[in-house]
Amino acid sequence: MFFRLVILSLWNRRSSILLTILSIAISVSLLLGVDHLRRQAKDSFTKTVSGVDLIVGARSGQVNLLLYSVFRIGNATNNISWESYQEIAENKNIAWTIPISLGDSHKGFRVMGTTQSYFDHYRFGDKQPLAFSKGESFKGVYDAVLGYSVAKELGYQVEQKIIISHGLGKVSFSKHDDKPFTVVGILQATGTPVDRTVHVSLAGIEAIHLDWQQGVKIPGLVISAEDALKHDLTPASITAMMVGLKSKIATFKLQRYINEYRKEPLMAVLPGVALVELWQIVSVIENLLLIISAMVVVAGLTGMLTTLIAGLNERRREIAILRSLGAQPLYVFLLLMIEAVVLALIGCLLGVALIFVLLSIIKPILVTEYGLFISAMPISLEMVYVLTIIISLAALLGLIPSLIAYKRSLKDGLTVKV
């Protein structure tokens, strides 16, 4: 009967109560959503590259190296000579290497020179390999493989001819237009910077720069696309390399070997460590978002408090009737406490349901439009604790109207005139 009274009394005031529940539900789903996206972003970010044990580049900062080699942001301070690359690649601890060469672009997308090794060994997410949605890996010097977003945004298909621009500007005036590339493959979405990269062979990068020096075309020197193939297209240098080891135990040994490499100043970083360091820069915003969402939940609960206190006056009669029938002040107190808890509970459950529905709606959109994979499970153990805290907080706030009603029920007679 007690719970029937709680439920029926709430139902009797359903218009204001439903709005209260709705505001709690929306705030809770916002909190859950922000927290979920934050975790997913962190998770996907720290898994941008996986299965790579070391990233090697010219000596600078580890975040800088990570930014240009993995995220294609910024530029390398210096290159690695081809000789050094070969010497390091032959180290007995190394299972495979991926050389990468950056510096050119196509319509704002970075062009990266690499080898077949990239498609064989590069991993992202939970050690997922790169996969082709169309076509295959590059074979010829002037073949290109497009990342998912490049093909999608530019509307390219296999067989499309593309011109690579020198440098990184979106509108570049120095184009390698004498040596067009042909798209031979398009990768599946990865949700990583790979999607925004045009991949060509190291030889291709070398070929387009044969008649260039210091970033400008050498006047008078013209080497046609066919003639270029006759030249030795072994690069003189690369931008960075990714390394896979035979055994992880050798990681630090090899890192030290590279960091102390005599012939040129190099550095090797552990991508996982560097990614976490980079994430920490972003995490300030992440925490700020979380704090804002928490404030919204507090606002939702305060709204509930307002509704409950405002409702007390209309309910004086109801409370007087219960008192006249022998209900103790404690009973009245509990009636209001349970009411606050029930509201918060329903609000939280509805909020959870709401976020599930929202996620199931936006999940396919994120995959097809942005190549982002997010898990459909927005509830973490921490969030279960947070929901418990929200309900406890509601109970704490519920003390206010409950105590008012308690004191009133002691003071008011049975004949309250409303």
């Binding site: 009274l5 006249s324 029938l325 022998g326 103790q328 002691l410 049975l414 004949t415 409303v418």
Partner: protein, 233 residues
């Protein structure tokens, strides 16, 4: 052996915030099965007296015994329990919880009093007994599952009577229950009320300012005549 249902002696009461006496009753007794008409103009302390008789407030001086129990000496929670077990109340109006249907409103006292609940269960189910009482008060069974707010005032008051009577409490207190009713409904209501009270062997204290109702009762008392000389009203 105390045969009186209510026995008040040397009762004095003032509010905590104000030391002026608002109620002063040297003696008042209501016998078993007695129908007492307590008459007094508004402001005469009727409401305060009812709050004292029902144990919402306690006397500052003197004693109130209900069924031989000095309710002023009981703890707050015991007083609430005592009220639930032994007293049925009927107010001027708005007696019913608007969100409960008629039957649930009638059986509500059984939720607060095991004693009354057991008395009801001895006669049948809560629902059956509630229907029986409602039927004896002339309420049609088409009303039973309606919300209280959908009914006329007269119907609501009769449901309040059914609620006060369920589980046969020894004392019924009615606070101007007819003031919201018109003349015809009022007479029918009082007759039904008094008949039902007689059927359950309860005593009734009927408080009203309307002297024209007094002839229905065994005895009538003016609240002012109960006062000692020094009372200020």
């Amino acid at each position: 052996m105390n045969l009186n249902t209510v026995s008040v002696s040397s009762l004095k009461f003032h509010w905590q915030s104000n030391p002026d006496w608002v109620l002063n009753i040297s003696s008042l007794a209501v016998k078993q099965k007695e129908k007492l008409f307590l008459q007094g103009p508004s402001g005469s302390g009727k409401t305060t007296l009812l709050d004292l008789l029902t144990g919402i407030h306690v006397p500052v001086q003197g004693t109130i015994k209900i069924l031989g129990t000095d309710i002023g000496s009981l703890k707050t929670t015991r007083r609430d329990k005592f009220r639930a077990d032994h007293i049925g109340l009927i107010f001027q109006q708005f007696n019913l919880l608007p969100y409960l249907n008629v039957i649930d409103n009638v059986i509500l006292p059984c939720h607060f009093s095991d004693k009354r609940k057991n008395k009801v269960l001895a006669q049948g189910t809560l629902h059956k007994v509630a229907v029986k009482i409602l039927d004896s008060l002339g309420l049609d069974d088409s009303l039973y599952h309606r919300q209280a707010t959908q009914l006329s005032v007269g119907q609501q008051q009769r449901i309040a009577v059914a609620r006060a009577l369920i589980g046969q409490p020894e004392l019924i207190i009615a606070d101007e229950p007819t003031s919201a009713l018109d003349q015809d409904t009022r007479d029918v209501f009082i007759k039904l009320l008094l008949k039902s009270v007689a059927d359950t062997d309860s005593s009734i204290v009927f408080v009203s300012h309307d002297k024209s109702l007094a002839h229905y009762f065994d005895r009538q008392i003016n609240i002012n005549s109960l006062a000692n000389e020094d009372v200020e009203i």
